[in-house]
């Protein structure tokens, strides 16, 4: 294993690197929207692992919930690192599936045990040394037939007359551990290894007989030393062929020897020049240089320390396959550290069935390939963080129930790594039928037996059509099977990603859908004191939509498309309704109130273009949202439809989450206080049917009022501010909001704001506390000065 260099001995450092966990200590990380949680929990100190839990989109990152998510979803990712006897390093990534099952751990463990020992395992017994206790024996005095049980292993430095601590990297070089059983031949072999490693001028192995028949071992050694070096250089020799030592002829004259060394020196220079620079950053290299300068001469232990430090940097930064392979240019001014960084030579994507057999996959490879970061492609250095990113990306395609990335040493290319991506495809087609009973209030308000309604829904999904991740899905739901036309909701959707081709880095998604919806109109709502007088109005929409979405980041996107809609306005009895009620001054009502539709017939048909640009830079800081969000949306009428509606309806919403205090990021650290500023402007030029007017008031407009309680207008401006103060792992908040119709209520036909005695503007303020997904808040309605408690789900902004 030792190599010779021109001007000194080259040292092959042991490639055993496995006991150092190359991953940081337990940490938690969460990506804002991908909802992957990474946990590093190590079942055994030897096996650092990374668990990735994929959950439904969920912005929760509280520590308490993560365990729950892990359990409930049971989808995890882990990788462990092990060291087989061949000193090769192997890691496993897996995403999805029931990660961390015991069988795999056992397999890994057995691999991890040095082969030399494993060979002996089946031997049940060991032999006593059969010598008097407490005497020192030379290795060659030991019997070649006996199996010795080793009670302890010591390293004695003869130069400094000290015993090196066992945790020193020396012990890693010796595959002998207390409690193990070795034969004389094995011990001799190990000693040979040490002697030839080039790190020692001299190594002796002494046995120390113990009274209980076991043997204590002492390696007494003199370290090799070289001339001091001043400079440090680190090169990447990965994938470079190792120089073959030209055998020296014992008959060579001195002259030939000099010639020989000169040639070797030249060869080595050429090799260094050819080698790629390594990734080791300047500061670390300088640190090494200082370590070198501190010492009078370069000792083997210094090289070991340098090697350890270099490897540690690589491990800490995710380069799991990086190793220091050699130190060259010893006895010169510049020490050369040769690193094999772990270059990826091949990426293999393969599909597995439920039993783990490799099968032919349905998904087209380019679909997966584009999700792999380019840092995980051949020619790059394997980085576990890149691999981790790849697992997340591929998993978020939502096509696979299990994603596993396993790096393997490339046997054909020394220093190379093959990245194996194992995927288990999820079911392509699914259909679901469900039925339910609804209890609806009878005529008296209380539920009666006759009012039990059977409801149901049918849904189907065809995923990954043509293996290109195209999806077709549909669902039909009714709450009353006996009379489905009363309340029938349906949705058909076709999603076609990679509109510009799978090989194009631009990912535009085409989506088309047919839908319907039924909502209570917030426009036909009475103001304070008139709530009961204004009958509800139902807005039914049936339509077709086709749009193209381009996702720039996980949160920022632009969408544009065409919408065709038929809007029907209905009264409480599901009868088509042309105009709302009008409140008469004497308290009565008449039915010639504001028109409900543009056409005046109760049914409108309209085609318009819809575009939306969302710029969202928000991120989580210890669970609190911080950043900016800008959303602009425009509906541009085309003059196609009932009464040729031509309009431009636009909305701009700006939200700023300002972090008020710098905090360290990490789990368990409280959230920073955040000030939220929000503004929303909406306006419509041209034909505006009442159902498209902007309603003011409600949990997403002005809190403390009911939906539309403040009015419905052509133009609106909403301003609000909220301050969030962290308390334990959640926050309390205070807010103030204002909504204004900018005097444009009268510009809606029939002026529904005034017709239903609404103010057209209003403010509110209040306090609240966030409890998981629920917000409990007390809001004071400024128009009346009265307050009320509200429980709301989800976020306001």
């Amino acid at each position: 294993m030792s190599k010779f260099a021109i001007n000194g001995q080259l040292i092959l450092l042991p490639e055993v690197s496995t006991t150092n966990s190359h991953l940081p200590t337990p940490r938690k990380h969460s990506a804002p929207s991908s909802s992957h949680e990474l946990l590093n929990n190590a079942p055994s100190p030897r096996f650092p692992s990374l668990i990735c839990c994929c959950s439904s989109p969920n912005r929760n990152t509280e520590p308490s919930s993560s365990g729950h998510l892990l359990k409930s979803l049971g989808k995890s990712l882990f990788f462990g690192s092990i060291s087989p006897a061949a000193s090769q390093f192997s890691s496993t990534f897996s995403g999805g599936g029931g990660g961390g099952d015991g069988g795999l751990w056992r397999d890994l463990f057995s691999l991890a045990t040095p082969v030399a020992v494993a060979d002996e395992k089946h031997s049940p017994d060991w032999d006593s040394h059969g010598l008097p206790a407490n005497i020192v024996v030379q290795l060659n005095k030991l019997s070649g037939l006996k199996k010795y049980k080793i009670s302890d292993v010591l390293f004695f430095d003869r130069r400094s007359k000290t015993t090196a601590p066992a945790e020193d990297s020396l012990s890693e070089m010796v595959p002998i551990h207390p409690g193990e059983i070795h034969t004389k031949a094995q011990l001799q072999n190990d000693l040979e290894t040490l002697t030839s490693s080039g790190m020692f001028e001299k190594v002796d192995l002494l046995g120390n007989t113990k009274p209980d028949g076991t043997l204590g071992l002492t390696f007494s050694f003199v370290e090799s030393t070289w001339k001091s070096a001043e400079r440090f250089r680190c090169i990447n020799v990965g994938l470079m062929t190792q120089p073959k030592p030209v055998p020296t002829d014992s008959d060579m004259t001195d002259r030939e020897m000099i010639e020989y060394y000169r040639n070797q020196e030249k060869d080595y220079k050429r090799r260094i020049d050819k080698a790629r620079p390594c990734m080791l950053p300047g500061p670390v290299q300088r640190e090494m240089m200082l370590m070198l300068r501190d010492q009078k001469n370069v000792s083997a232990s210094l090289l070991r320390r340098i090697g350890d430090r270099v490897v540690k940097w690589y491990r800490d930064n995710g380069y799991a396959y990086a190793n220091v392979t050699n130190f060259g240019s010893l006895n010169s001014k510049e020490l050369v550290c040769e690193v094999s960084e772990g270059d990826i030579t091949r990426v293999v994507i393969q599909f597995q069935d439920k039993l783990g057999n490799v099968v032919e996959g349905h998904t087209q490879i380019p679909i997966i390939h584009r999700e792999i970061p380019k840092q995980l492609r051949p020619g790059h250095v394997l980085n576990m963080k890149a691999a981790n990113q790849a697992v997340k990306n591929i998993f978020s395609l939502n096509l696979f129930s299990n994603v596993e990335i396993i790096p393997r040493a490339d046997e054909k290319n020394e220093g190379g790594v093959i990245v194996e991506i194992n995927l288990r495809e999820a079911d392509k087609k699914s259909a679901e039928v469900s039925t339910e009973w609804n209890i609806v209030p009878g005529p008296g308000g209380a539920p009666s037996l006759e009012s039990f309604q059977p409801g149901g829904s049918v849904s189907f999904e065809h995923k990954n059509i043509h293996g290109l991740n195209r999806t077709f899905m549909g669902s039909v739901t009714t709450s009353n099977l006996l009379n489905p036309e009363d309340d029938l909701a349906f949705k058909l959707e076709y999603v076609h990603p990679h509109l510009d081709g799978v090989y194009n880095s631009r990912n535009r998604i085409f989506k088309t859908s047919a839908f319907n919806s039924r909502k209570l109109s917030p426009v036909f709502t009475g103001g304070p004191g008139f709530e009961e007088l204004v009958p509800p109005l139902v807005v039914d929409r049936v339509g077709l939509k086709a749009n193209i979405t381009e996702n720039f980041t996980r949160q920022s996107k632009s969408t544009y498309g065409l919408v065709l809609e038929e809007i029907t306005t209905r009264d409480g009895n599901i009868q088509i309704c042309k105009s709302g009620m009008r409140l008469l001054p004497d308290g009565g009502t008449s039915d010639d109130g504001p028109p409900t539709t543009l056409s005046g017939t109760g049914v409108d048909r309209v085609a318009f273009l819809q575009a939306n640009v969302t710029r969202d830079n928000t991120k989580f800081v210890n669970g609190a949202i911080v950043g900016d969000r800008t959303v602009f949306q425009v509906d541009q009428g085309l003059g196609i439809g009932s009464k040729c509606p031509f309009f431009n309806r636009h909305q701009l919403s700006l939200t700023k989450f300002i972090q008020l205090k710098r905090v360290k990021e990490g789990s368990g650290i409280p959230q920073p206080p955040v000030l939220v500023l929000h503004g929303h402007y909406g306006s419509c030029v041209g034909d505006l049917p009442s159902y498209e007017s902007f309603a003011i008031g409600g949990p997403n407009s002005v809190r403390g009022y009911t939906m539309g309680e403040l009015g419905a207008a052509r133009n609106i401006l909403e301003l609000s501010a909220e301050i969030r103060v962290p308390v334990k792992n959640t926050h309390v908040y205070a807010f103030a909001e204002h909504g204004n119709d900018l005097g444009s209520s009268k510009d809606v036909k029939g002026n529904p704001t005034a017709a239903y005695r609404r103010m057209g503007h209003g403010s509110s303020y209040g306090l609240g506390v966030k409890l998981g997904q629920v917000r409990a808040e007390y809001a004071v309605d400024h128009n009346r000065g009265t307050g009320a408690f509200f429980l709301r789900f989800g976020e306001r902004y």
Binding site: R276, F552, V613, F647, L652, V685
Partner: protein, 313 residues
């Protein structure tokens, strides 16, 4: 115009005392000189302030039905009288207030009634013998402004009925009249959104009337006010002045009746607005997102790798 309406001969004029008659004829002559053949006067105000009575006094006959204790339906009535080629149209309207609110329906009926007519003069009637101006007054004035536009106030006069009224103790009659009219004018100015200076430029005319049969009369048997002016000729004179004051008469067309259609406003600008939105909002926003993406803090491994990859190249 009221051309379709059969206009009756103005007989009522003969019932006025000769002194009044001669003054009125003088005014009619003036109209003839100006080649104006008809004049339309709109009378508006709250209920029960004496609108119909004023109409009757002006015409000189019981043309509009006066009901003392209740409002007279919701329909406006047109009284049209002609005298030697000149037609005087007086439109009496029902009270606008009902149940503490302006009756929108009544306003709409009036507007519908006035469709395709031109209002030359608006008489806004209120009582003199009321001490306060309240929210209802404001609502009525606002309703009139909303219905006909603020321009109508340039063709208006404030009519104070029940002018033969003794102010409470210690108050001078003239002082009371000026205070009462000032209070109402302030309201009208606010509603008409006219600055005070503008209003002073053309003094808003105030006419006092006394429709009661017990109205004092002077030696020529003319109805006079406490300060001795004969009010009927005065009223006609003011109306004449208003009609010749240079401001445009208000023509009630379909647009005015239906109100400005907000759905039509700015419609022609929509293509421009959309272009503006596309070029100055959406495109820059997308550019911003792209610059965000390029500025995004990348993990160390990504940067490092691209660096070494470039070195490799």
């Amino acid at each position: 115009m009221a051309a379709l309406q059969m206009s009756r001969e103005w007989i009522g004029i003969q019932q006025f005392p000769p002194a009044t008659q001669s003054k009125l004829l003088e005014i009619l002559d003036k109209f003839k000189q100006e080649d104006v053949s008809s004049l339309t006067v709109l009378v508006m105000g709250k209920g029960g302030v004496g609108k119909s009575s004023t109409v009757n006094s002006v015409i000189g006959e019981r043309a509009a039905a006066v009901s003392t204790f209740q409002s007279e339906g919701l329909r406006p009535t047109l009284v049209s009288r002609s005298r030697s080629g000149f037609t005087l149209n007086v439109i009496d309207t029902p009270g606008l207030i009902e149940g503490g609110y302006v009756n929108d329906q009544a306003v709409n009926l009036i507007k519908g009634f006035l469709l395709n007519k031109t209002i030359d003069v608006l008489l806004y009637v209120d009582r003199l013998d009321v001490y306060r101006v309240d929210d209802l007054d404001r609502q009525v004035v606002t309703a009139i402004t909303d219905a006909f536009g603020k321009e109508i106030w340039k063709k208006s006069a404030l009519v104070l009925s029940h002018a033969q009224f003794s102010p409470p103790d210690g108050l001078n009659y003239d002082l009371f009249v000026s205070r009462r009219s000032d209070a109402l004018l302030k309201l009208i100015r606010a509603a008409a959104q006219v600055k005070k200076q503008d209003m002073q430029g053309s003094l808003f005319p105030v006419i006092r009337v006394e429709n009661s049969g017990r109205c004092n009369k002077n030696e020529s048997d003319e109805k006079i006010l406490p300060d001795g002016t004969s009010w009927i000729p005065n009223l006609f004179k003011t109306i004449t002045e208003i009609s010749f004051n240079g401001s445009e008469s208000i023509h009630v067309d379909k647009k005015l009746v239906e109100g400005p259609n907000p759905n039509e406003r700015g419609k022609r600008l929509i293509p421009l607005i959309f272009a503006f939105q596309y070029l100055l909002l959406m495109k820059p926003l997308v550019r911003l997102i792209k610059s965000d993406v390029s500025r995004e803090s990348k993990p160390a491994w990504e940067i490092r790798d691209s660096g070494s990859a470039s070195r490799r190249a």
